[in-house]
């Protein structure tokens, strides 16, 4: 570890997580020459067969966590691909029935940009707006549905605020209207229970790297009772029933399986540990002048704390938090330069949206990390507030 890393407290688990050593070990085994490094498509020899066994076990582990069956999973390269495959694939497949989609303005770009692509192709998309806490209501959703609506896409937990939608209620509206429901669970998987049956989910996107698994692997759950097929995004050697061809990345999938197996075992205890840490953090910084909480105070992930600071400039806030690895609503050289569309949609001013910090905690976060974060945040705020001297006030002259 370099000194820079050692000195920097990592509170950016919502961006990506470290790989759990148990997951790593499981992956490394698949990378050993002496193990089943084969191509699971090579069904004619033992190397291929062993790889297929590994894939099968991973499918069982992943399916178990979401109460699905292993054959209802398609492996992908991550949640971006899963989201695209779900939204584009289902919309295209159902295009004969209708060309109207409903989603929410606070979805991840992987969903929003897929929807934008559908609009280019002549589909109509209704974008629901959440209330000031980030929640949408099942009633608003029901009102948005049309006879030609084929798909609703609503994320489980928001990646910026951690706000958690009531998927069960949304699912039952969708079922009543016989509309498919896609849920992006990239942030919630393993933090909240996900049950595709109980919550009436038809398509579920998630990945491993937000859950102490490897980057570059994800899955899409397809409810086989409700949707037989979707249009693929990739064409090739026919792997995965042609829905997603390409050689399966055995070590990646094994890692995802192990990561989600661990979550199944440890989720409950871990969620309460992490939410204690989050509460400790909020106690430490919530009373500082100008600090406000973004998103619903209860309906949110245990692991995310998103705050804004009134009267402080966003980039400088981020800059002053040098010793903290967190995400912020603002970045000088960021390609967009726009403040977070998620926070803006909650009604925040540009200043507050930019001066926002997302703390996201996870498996390896300690009390000491939190205390250090409180210290650094307090100090940064004190400096910037002294510097801006209330900011909007005129100089007393």
């Amino acid at each position: 570890m370099t000194d820079d890393l050692k000195e920097t407290v990592y509170l950016d688990y919502a961006a990506t997580t470290p790989v759990d050593p148990r997951v790593r070990d499981c992956m490394v085994m698949c990378l050993e020459q002496s193990e089943g490094f084969g191509n699971p498509a090579s069904s004619t020899h033992v190397y291929g067969e062993q790889a297929a066994v590994v894939i099968r076990q991973a499918a069982i582990d992943v399916a178990t966590l979401i109460n699905a069956s292993p054959d209802e999973l398609v492996w992908t390269s991550g949640a971006t691909e899963s989201d695209n495959l779900a939204v584009l694939g289902a919309a295209h497949f159902k295009a004969m029935k209708g060309r109207h989609i409903v989603t929410v303005v606070t979805e991840h770009k992987a969903v929003l940009e897929s929807c934008a692509q559908l609009e280019q192709e002549g589909f109509t998309v209704t974008y629901l707006r959440p209330d000031g806490t980030g929640l949408i209501s099942a009633k608003d959703l029901a009102a948005a549905l049309r006879p030609d609506t084929t798909l609703v896409s609503v994320m489980h937990a928001n990646n910026e605020t951690g706000v958690v939608q009531d998927i069960g209620a949304i699912g039952s509206v969708c079922r009543q209207h016989d509309v498919l429901l896609h849920v992006d669970a990239a942030q919630s998987i393993g933090k909240l229970p996900v049950d595709v049956i109980a919550q009436q989910i038809d398509l579920l996107s998630f990945n491993a790297h937000k859950a102490c698994g490897p980057k570059g692997v994800g899955a899409l759950y397809l409810n086989r009772e409700r949707i037989r097929r979707i249009e693929p995004l990739l064409y090739g050697g026919g792997q995965q029933r042609g829905i997603r061809p390409g050689t399966l990345a055995v070590h990646q999938i094994a890692g995802m399986g192990e990561a989600l197996r661990i979550l199944g075992d440890e989720m409950e205890a871990e969620a309460s540990r992490v939410s204690c840490l989050r509460d400790r953090l909020w106690q430490g910084i919530g009373q500082l002048p100008g600090v406000v909480l973004n998103g619903h105070p209860e309906q949110r992930l245990c692991s995310i704390l998103n705050v804004s600071v009134a009267g402080v400039e966003g980039e400088s806030l981020q800059f002053a938090l040098d010793g903290l690895a967190v995400s912020s609503g603002s970045a000088c050289n960021s390609s967009s330069g726009e403040p977070s569309y998620v926070l803006r949609s909650l009604g925040l001013s540009d200043q507050l949206a930019e001066a926002s910090i997302r703390f996201s905690l996870g498996r390896f976060t300690t009390e000491a990390d939190i205390d250090q974060a409180i210290k650094l945040f307090t100090r940064a705020l004190a400096y910037l507030q002294a510097l801006s001297c209330g900011a909007s006030m005129k100089v007393n002259g």
């Binding site: 009267g311 402080v312 400039e313 966003g314 980039e315 400088s316 800059f319 002053a320 040098d322 000088c332 050289n333 330069g337 540009d350 200043q351 400096y383 002294a386 510097l387 801006s388 001297c389 900011a391 909007s392 005129k394 100089v395 002259g397």
Partner: protein, 119 residues
């Protein structure tokens, strides 16, 4: 953080100095994304206690710290001699953000204007 030049890192975290009370000027606003207030005293035509307040991004805060440092002890008219291209180079300010430098320039100019009314 490597995306900010070393000069920004060096000049960002200086002690806050609000400056004197004789000369004061400001420009920009929170809505514009940058607000800067310059203040100083003037003794025998020389700037003393040059300081500032700012709601601004790291590049601009660093530039302010630097500017008030070089102005300390300089003749009053130096307030309007702040050279933007020099600041831009010194702090490697991305061109698309150069607009913020104009606010800085305006703040110093308005401070100099105050000097006119004082002296």
């Amino acid at each position: 953080m490597s995306r900010y030049p070393q000069q920004v890192v060096a000049y960002f975290h200086r002690p806050v100095c609000s400056g004197g009370t004789m000369l004061q000027g400001e420009a920009g606003s929170v809505e514009q994304g940058a607000w800067i207030a310059i203040a100083a005293d003037c003794e025998a035509g020389q700037l003393k206690n040059v300081g500032f307040h700012a709601f601004a991004c790291p590049h601009i805060i660093a530039a302010c710290h630097w500017a008030v440092e070089v102005l300390e002890g300089a003749p009053v008219q130096a307030l309007q001699d702040i050279q933007l291209d020099k600041l831009q180079q010194e702090f490697e300010i991305p061109v698309e953000k150069a607009g913020k430098l104009l606010i800085l320039k305006d703040a110093f100019t308005s401070c100099y204007a105050a000097a006119g009314s004082v002296t």
